[in-house]
C-alpha cells in the first residue's frame, strides 16, 4: 500500500506543481490539496490516466471562521483499491468553481445541490435553479451562519402546552440563591 501511495504522489506531483499531499492515513486513503483552478485537470488526469474511474463523493464543508468553503472530491480506483481525496478551498464571499460535469455526469447533481445549499456558482452549469428547495428566498441553508432553529420558530407553528417546562439548573439556582457570573454562563449546559 505504501509503495502504491508513493507512486501516486510522485505522478501527481510531477504533473501538478501546486498539489500538496497528506499521506498520514494508515488505511487506503490519500489526500491532495490543490488550487481550485487545478481541480478539473487533476480530476481528469486521475480518471483517464490513473484509473480512478469511480467518483465516490463530492462534499463541501463550510469553515465559517476561516471565511472559506472547502470542496472535497473523493475518487476511487477499482483497480488499485485506493481512495484519493482532492481538496480545494474557495473564498466564502464569492465562491466560484469550474463545472466538472463533463468528467462525471453525476457531478452535475452535486453541483446543483451545492449551488443551492452553499451558494457556490459553477461556471457553465446548465440546470434549473431549484433542486431540493422550492420558492426559497433565504440565504443558502447549509451555510453555518444560517440558523435553522430560529428560522423554524419564526416560520412554523409549535403546539402549545409545554410552557410550564422548568430548567434543572435554574431550579437549583432559585432554591439556593446562587449567582452565576456572566462569563461562566457559557459553560452551563
Amino acid at each position: 500500500m505504501d509503495e502504491l501511495k508513493t507512486k501516486i504522489i510522485e505522478r501527481i506531483k510531477a504533473n501538478f506543481q501546486d498539489a500538496t499531499e497528506n499521506n498520514s492515513f494508515n488505511y487506503n486513503r490519500l489526500d491532495f490539496n490543490v488550487n481550485k483552478t487545478t481541480v478539473p485537470s487533476i480530476l481528469f488526469y486521475l480518471k483517464d490516466e490513473m484509473g480512478f474511474k469511480h467518483l465516490s463523493h463530492i462534499t463541501c464543508v463550510d469553515w465559517l471562521e476561516e471565511g472559506e468553503l472547502e470542496l472535497i472530491f473523493i475518487v476511487w480506483s477499482p483497480v488499485d483499491k485506493i481512495k484519493v481525496f482532492v481538496r480545494t478551498r474557495l473564498d466564502r464571499e464569492n465562491p466560484v468553481m469550474d463545472n466538472i460535469d463533463m468528467i462525471w455526469r453525476q457531478a452535475h447533481t452535486y453541483e446543483r445541490e451545492f449551488r443551492e445549499m452553499f451558494g457556490i456558482q459553477f461556471t457553465g452549469l446548465e440546470a434549473p435553479q431549484d433542486f431540493l428547495l422550492e420558492d426559497w428566498d433565504g440565504p443558502p441553508p447549509m451555510r453555518r451562519d444560517f440558523h435553522t432553529e430560529e428560522y423554524a420558530s419564526e416560520t412554523f407553528f409549535e403546539r402549545p402546552g409545554r410552557e410550564d417546562a422548568g430548567d434543572v439548573r435554574e431550579e437549583i439556582i432559585k432554591r439556593s440563591g446562587e449567582e452565576i457570573p456572566d462569563f461562566a454562563k457559557k459553560y452551563s449546559r
Binding site: 417546562a165 434543572v168 437549583i172 446562587e178 459553560y187 452551563s188 449546559r189
Partner: protein
C-alpha cells in the same frame, strides 16, 4: 423465447399450492403479537428513584423532554424536584434518554398503542400517567450498558507505608489528561451546587476543565471562593454526596478537579493575572475582621474587591486559622496556603499577625475604629474526655497536638498513641502520630461506618497502619508512678437502635473492660469557643447560645454592627461553611454600608 411460453405460463400456477393453507395473518385486533422483550415503547419513570437531574432532557435531540413540577414531589438536596414529561409529538423512541439516566429510573415499556383524535393529548409524564407501565418495562439500562461513566479516574497517591516516613503530600493530584477525563464524566446537572454551602459554580468550572479552559475554570472558582486550593485539598465535599452519578457509581471527583484547576496557577502572581479581579475604587469605609481563618479571609477578600478598607487581626503567626493549624501538612502543605494568603494580601487586605484580640488589642477599640466588625474567631478550645486520670502527663487534646505539630513545635508522644474520637481531627491526629513514628489506635464509640470522618481519610489511615477499635467507650486513663499515661481502659459497646428514629446509640456492656497500653492519649471529641475577648460590655450585647453566636440569615449578630461566621456560628464546622458565612456576611455588609452612604 417463443411467443407462447408454456413453462413460463404454467410455473407461476404452482402458487396455487398455497391454496387452503392456514394464512400467517395476525388478525389484529382479535389477536395481537406481543412486543419483543426489548421493545422500545412508551416511557416509564420511577418517580421515587428519579432525582430530576434532567440529563434525559439534555440528551434528547428532539427537545421532547420537559422537566416539570409534579404533585407530591418536593425538591431537596440531591433532587431538583422536577420530573421529565415526554412530548410524544417529538419523541422518536431512540432511548438515548434511558441510556444516559444516571439513576436508571427511566426505561421504556412494551406499550406502544395510543391513537387519538386530540393532538393535545400526547404530552405524558411517564410514571404518573402510566403507572401500569411498571410491569411492562422492556428497554432499560444496567450499570454495564449505561452511557454514564461510573468509574472515577483513580487519584495517584503515595503508597501507604511510604507516606508515614514523612509529611510529604499524600495525594499527588491529577495530571491534565486525567483531569480532562474525570471532568468529562460530569453531566452538568448542577444538583451539587445546592449541597455546597457556598454554592460554588461546580458544573461550570468542571465544564471549563473538560473543554480545556483551565484559566476560565480558575476564574469561575474565584468568583465566590478565595481559598479554592485549600478547598481542593481538604474540603468535606458535600457536593460529591449528592452527585447524580453517585446514585449508581462513584461521584465525580469535584474536589480533586478544583484542586487541579487551582494548581494550574502556580504562584499568587499568576493567580492574580488569571483571575484579574475587578477592584472597585476605595469608598472610604472600613471593616475590621477578627481571625484570619477561612471566613475572615473570605469576607476580607470580597470586601476589599468591593472597595472597603479591610484589616484582619490574627492571634497566630500565620493566617489560615483551623486550616493552617488544625490540618496536617501531608494533606495541606504550607506553601499552597501561603500562595493564597499572598494573593489575598495582594488585593489589599491588611493582616496583623500575632495580635490577639482581648490581649494585644481590645475588642472595644476595634469596634470603635471600624464601621463594621466581622468575627471569624473559630473554636480555639477542645472538649475534654471527662474520665479519670485525664490529668496524666501524655494526655492531651488532639486539636492542641495538631496545632503544636503544625507550628513546628516538638511534641513527645512516645511510641503508643490512643486517639479517642471518630472525626477528621481524630484521624488527622492518628495519621500525624504515625508519621512521628508511633503505633496508633483509634478508639471510637460507634461503628466504623458511623464515623463522621471522610471515608477516604479512614481508608488512608488504615493503609498507613492505624488500628481502629470501634464500639469502645473509654472509662479511665491509668497512670504510672511518674504520673505518666500507662494505659487506657475502655468498655465495649453494643449498638442499640434509637426509639425516636435517630442513629443507633452505643451502650456500654458491663464487665467488658479492656485495657490498651499507651504512652499518650489524645481526645478528639469536639471543640468549643472562647469568647472572653469580648469583654463585659459586649457579652451582654452580643448574644451567645449553646456556645455559638446567634446570627440572622445575613450573619448579623444581635449587635447590628457586628457580623460573625465560621465555626463560632454554624454547626457544620467545616471550611466551606465558614467561607460561605464570610461571603454571605460580605454581601450583607456591603448592602448595609452602601445604604448608609446614600
Amino acid at each position: 423465447m417463443s411467443f407462447f411460453d408454456l413453462k413460463g405460463t404454467v410455473k407461476p400456477l404452482t402458487a396455487l399450492k398455497q391454496f387452503g393453507k392456514k394464512p400467517h395473518t395476525i388478525s389484529y385486533p382479535k389477536e395481537s403479537k406481543e412486543a419483543a422483550d426489548r421493545y422500545r415503547g412508551f416511557h416509564y419513570n420511577d418517580i421515587e428513584e428519579c432525582i430530576g437531574c434532567g440529563n434525559c432532557s439534555t440528551i434528547c435531540q428532539n427537545a421532547a423532554i420537559d422537566m416539570i413540577h409534579i404533585e407530591g414531589v418536593e425538591g431537596k438536596k440531591g433532587d431538583s424536584g422536577l420530573r421529565p414529561r415526554i412530548d410524544h409529538g417529538r419523541c422518536c423512541w431512540c432511548a438515548l434518554c434511558v441510556e444516559v439516566c444516571p439513576t436508571g429510573s427511566l426505561s421504556l415499556t412494551k406499550d406502544y398503542l395510543y391513537v387519538s383524535d386530540d393532538p393535545d393529548s400526547f404530552l405524558w409524564t411517564p410514571g404518573v400517567d402510566n403507572p401500569e407501565g411498571k410491569d411492562k418495562i422492556s428497554f432499560y439500562t444496567t450499570n454495564e450498558i449505561s452511557l454514564n461513566d461510573f468509574k472515577r479516574i483513580p487519584m495517584p497517591e503515595l503508597e501507604g507505608m511510604e507516606r508515614v516516613k514523612s509529611f510529604a503530600e499524600v495525594v499527588l493530584g491529577y495530571n491534565e489528561e486525567q483531569a480532562r477525563a474525570e471532568a468529562s464524566r460530569c453531566i452538568s446537572c448542577g444538583l451539587c451546587t445546592e449541597a455546597c454551602p457556598e454554592h460554588m459554580h461546580i458544573p461550570e468550572y468542571i465544564n471549563a476543565i473538560a473543554t480545556g479552559n483551565d484559566a476560565d475554570a480558575v476564574r469561575i472558582i474565584y468568583d465566590n471562593n478565595p481559598l479554592p486550593e485549600m478547598c481542593g485539598k481538604v474540603c468535606t465535599r458535600r457536593c460529591e454526596d449528592v452527585c447524580a452519578i453517585a446514585v449508581r457509581g462513584e461521584p465525580i471527583a469535584i474536589r480533586w478537579l478544583k484542586r487541579y484547576a487551582t494548581e494550574t496557577a502556580l504562584t499568587s502572581e499568576i493567580t492574580r493575572e488569571i483571575v484579574n479581579p475587578e477592584i472597585k475604587e476605595a469608598n472610604g469605609k472600613s471593616v475590621g475582621i477578627i481571625g484570619a481563618g477561612p471566613s475572615g479571609l473570605t469576607a476580607g477578600y470580597y470586601l476589599a474587591l468591593r472597595g472597603y478598607d479591610v484589616t484582619i487581626y490574627e492571634a497566630n503567626a500565620k493566617a489560615g486559622g483551623a486550616t493552617m493549624y488544625g490540618i496536617p501538612k501531608y494533606r495541606f502543605p504550607i506553601d499552597s496556603l501561603d500562595k493564597q494568603i499572598e494573593y489575598i494580601q495582594s488585593i489589599g487586605v491588611k493582616i496583623h499577625f500575632n495580635t490577639k484580640v482581648g490581649k494585644d488589642i481590645s475588642f472595644k477599640e476595634i469596634y470603635d475604629k471600624f464601621d463594621v466588625v466581622f468575627m471569624g474567631v473559630g473554636f480555639p478550645d477542645a472538649w475534654s474526655l471527662g474520665v479519670d486520670g485525664e490529668d496524666a502527663k501524655g494526655s492531651m487534646q488532639a486539636f492542641r497536638f495538631l496545632h503544636m505539630v503544625n507550628s513546628g513545635e516538638k511534641v513527645d508522644i512516645g511510641d503508643k498513641v490512643v486517639v479517642v474520637g471518630g472525626g477528621n481531627v481524630a484521624i488527622d491526629a492518628a495519621r500525624v502520630s504515625r508519621r512521628l513514628g508511633a503505633e496508633v489506635t483509634i478508639l471510637y464509640r460507634r461503628r466504623v461506618e458511623d464515623m463522621p470522618a471522610d471515608w477516604e481519610e479512614i481508608e488512608g489511615a488504615e493503609d498507613e497502619g492505624v488500628h481502629i477499635v470501634p464500639q469502645g467507650i473509654p472509662i479511665k486513663v491509668h497512670k504510672d508512678e511518674k504520673g505518666h499515661v500507662k494505659s487506657v481502659e475502655y468498655l465495649k459497646a453494643e449498638m442499640v437502635p434509637d426509639e425516636r428514629g435517630g442513629r443507633p446509640k452505643p451502650v456500654a456492656i458491663e464487665g467488658s473492660n479492656t485495657i490498651i497500653e499507651a504512652t499518650s492519649v489524645m481526645a478528639a471529641i469536639g471543640q468549643m469557643g472562647d469568647y472572653s475577648f469580648l469583654g463585659k460590655e459586649f457579652e451582654d450585647k452580643i448574644k451567645i447560645e449553646r456556645g455559638r453566636f446567634v446570627v440572622n440569615d445575613k450573619q448579623q449578630t444581635t449587635d447590628p454592627k457586628v457580623f460573625a461566621g465560621g465555626d463560632a456560628v454554624n454547626r457544620t464546622a467545616d471550611a466551606i461553611s465558614a467561607i460561605a458565612d464570610g461571603f454571605k456576611a460580605c454581601k450583607a455588609i456591603d448592602e448595609m454600608l452602601s445604604k448608609d452612604k446614600n
